[in-house]
Amino acid sequence: MSALQAAPLIEIEHLTMRFGGLLAIDDVSFIGRPREITAIIGPNGAGKTTVFNCITGFYKPTVGRLLLRGEREYLLERMLGHEIGQRARVARTFQNIRLFPAMTVLENLLVAQHNKLMLASGYSVFGLFGLRRYRLAENAAIELARAWLERIGLLADADRPAGELPYGAQRRLEIARAMCTEPRLLCLDEPAAGLNPRESAELNQLLVSIRDRDGIGVLLIEHDMSVVMNISNHVVVLDYGRKIAEGAPAAIQRDPAVIRAYLGTDDEAIDG
């Protein structure tokens, strides 16, 4: 790793999440840096999505500190769900796509810019009377949406209901929608799930451009190793809620603990 690494964007310290008797995450710590893609991998049920749900405020962690550095420091575990998106500027996508299916592609991207537009519309008062200030803000929001539609190749579909798009396009749209909130940290939950190899390669390009051009930090949960190994800078491996390995992608591929978690112990490997 280079010596010129930026300061951490997010620090996850001793994160523990308990659901009744089930210990879903057990004392996990890692950091995510700006301009880096940090992949979180692990077998099914390892607690990856639970980590995301803690970061984005859908769960309150039992123990742990989630520190996000922006213009000031945010303690995510103390913030309400929507404040994490609004103030700390953490955006996320979901394992099972959650678009607004009846609304058009463009409308989906405008909803993502809600807080900015709400301020510009004077909490709807100026907007109701069609004042110039709101019109300008809305035009700017549409331009941002247009730029993202060009990047994900959906410009021609802007006025179609989002639910009518093919699956791969919906995946890309969800990422663009998260990016329209202008986040500091983007959390992607299995963005390559269900994509064919060509779409998967396009996704790699998109994620790399988000990292390099937009300069934000990306946390990535992914099963598709072609995505993980090609684009991530740093990999964290979870198994049964514990962190079992961490490091550069190449090192992770050779890590015996990781191989054991994915393929079982040596004995089982021989038996199977």
Binding site: G57, E83, G85, R98, F100, T104, R177
Partner: protein
């Protein structure tokens, strides 16, 4: 064909059996009050039942024929039924004539439906069809508005029509108001009538006790109803779907029961009477003005006529309804309106995008309630007498039915549904006891043929590419 005929006959016979079992107690017997000594006795109406069962037999047979593609026999059967029903032949009751004709009409519709569908679909693809479609989409609203504005000046405008029009427009306004909550924000509200009641009682109390005029109370009533909307909003923030519906239903009943029992304030079940009507520049609509006031006929120098008051009320409610509509249209294009729709689509995704669901829901409840408050004030001013009986659950159900039948979120759909739902029972009055049956049948038909409401099309709030104009798109 011949091989399937026995099956069809057996099927029709079975249907008759079921209908007979169901109908024998409902139609076959009628209890009569024959005086205090013997109490009740039965009147037998087996002839009616028999005729109905014969119609059902042939109706079912016709449906089977139509379903297996034998269009012409089915149409012929339907034609015979229509002819019989409309003929001077004396059937035991007037309703049976209707029943036979209706059965025949439905059969003909069913038989021609696939063919009509094909013709309509191919017609929609021609240039004229597309033009008509565009007229339907873009100009229908303006057309209806034009008709609504000139209606009082047409010969149609008698007492009865104007009364009905005012009633329909009140429901159009309520439908548009509830559309914000149910159609846009997706919050199923079964207690909408509570806000209507708050608006009505606000005006009734402030005018009779404080002497305030209609125009002064109108914004106050809206504000009061809106605050009640927020009051209801808080406890139901975490609820969705059915649970939300139950709690809002309870809220509606609570408001009604409070009005019913808070005797000192609301005069309980006796209601509040002699509520002043709305004034035109301070002038009242009456034959003789109270002391210190002027009548409208004096103000305008026209002879007094009772219908002037109705026409004035008509224009007030038209204006109020239009304000509701414009406001909603405007809100849909604002971030808060888009957030309402996004909330309806996926609340979790909204939260992840940093949208505050609490504020968004509360604004939807407040804005929806505000318009119900306006409508309530208008209702009190129009009726001049209100009592808790006007604000029962059935009102909420009718308003919700208007929104759902119209096609959730569609503004024009609400108008069409209000005309159907409020107008039809009035026009069906000649059917006597059977009018609610005909009304129910009409609703079932709409739900069969337009399951997503009369107008299910959703117009985007903003477009990146302008719609292709002309017939080429």
């Amino acid at each position: 064909m011949t091989s399937r005929l026995p099956t069809m006959l057996r099927d029709a016979a079975f249907t008759v059996l079921v209908a007979a079992a169901l109908g024998i107690f409902v139609v076959g017997f009628r209890t009569l009050d024959v005086g205090s000594r013997t109490g009740l006795s039965f009147d037998y109406e087996f002839v009616d039942l028999g005729v109905a069962l014969i119609v059902i037999f042939f109706g079912r047979l016709g449906l089977s024929l139509a379903a297996s593609g034998l269009r012409w026999p089915a149409i012929a059967l339907g034609g015979v039924m229509i002819a019989l029903g409309a003929s001077p032949l004396r059937l035991p009751s007037g309703f049976l004539h209707w029943f036979v004709v209706l059965g025949g009409v439905l059969l003909v519709i069913r038989a021609t439906w696939p063919w009509a569908n094909r013709v309509l679909a191919s017609a929609a693809r021609t240039a004229t069809g597309r033009l008509l479609d565009r007229i339907g989409n873009q100009w229908l609203g303006w057309l209806l508005l034009g008709l609504a504005i000139i209606l009082p000046f047409t010969p149609l405008a008698d007492q009865k029509t104007m009364d009905l029009s005012v009633l329909i427009l009140t429901y159009v306004m309520l439908g548009w108001g509830l559309n914000i909550v149910v159609g846009l924000a997706g919050l199923l509200d079964l207690g909408y009538v509570a806000f209507y009641a708050v608006g009505a009682y606000s005006y009734a109390l402030l005018s009779t006790q404080q002497g305030l005029g209609f125009w002064a109370v109108l914004p106050l009533a809206g504000a009061l109803a809106a605050s009640f909307g927020i009051l209801l909003g808080f406890p139901v923030l975490r609820l969705r779907g059915d649970y939300l519906a139950i709690v809002t239903l309870g809220f509606g009943e609570i408001i009604r029961l409070v009005i019913l029992n808070w005797f000192d304030l609301t005069n309980g079940p006796a209601g509040i009477g002699s509520i002043p009507g709305p004034t035109l520049f301070g002038a009242v609509f009456a034959e003789t003005a109270p002391a210190g006031k002027q009548t409208v006929s004096e103000l305008l120098g026209i002879p007094f006529n009772g219908i002037h008051r109705l026409i004035f009320l008509y224009y007030i409610i038209l204006l109020l309804a239009l304000i509701t509509n414009l406001f909603t249209q405007r809100m849909r294009r604002l971030p808060v309106g888009r957030a309402w729709e996004a909330l309806r689509e996926d609340e979790t995704a909204c939260k992840a995008l940093g949208i505050n669901p609490t504020n968004t829901k509360l604004t939807a409840f407040a804005v929806g309630a505000m318009f119900a408050g306006f409508a309530g004030s208008f209702f009190a001013a129009k009726q001049r007498f209100i009592s808790p009986e006007s604000f029962t659950f059935i009102e909420s159900a009718i308003i919700l039915a208007i929104v759902v039948l119209g096609g959730m979120g569609s503004q024009i759909g609400v108008v069409l549904a209000a005309v159907l739902l409020i107008g039809l029972p009035e026009w069906f009055r000649e059917l006597g006891n059977y009018r609610m049956l005909a009304f129910g049948l009409a609703m079932v038909l709409i739900m069969v043929f337009r399951p997503r409401g009369l107008i299910a099309h959703r117009e985007p709030s903003v477009r990146l590419h302008p719609v292709a104009s002309g017939g080429s798109g």
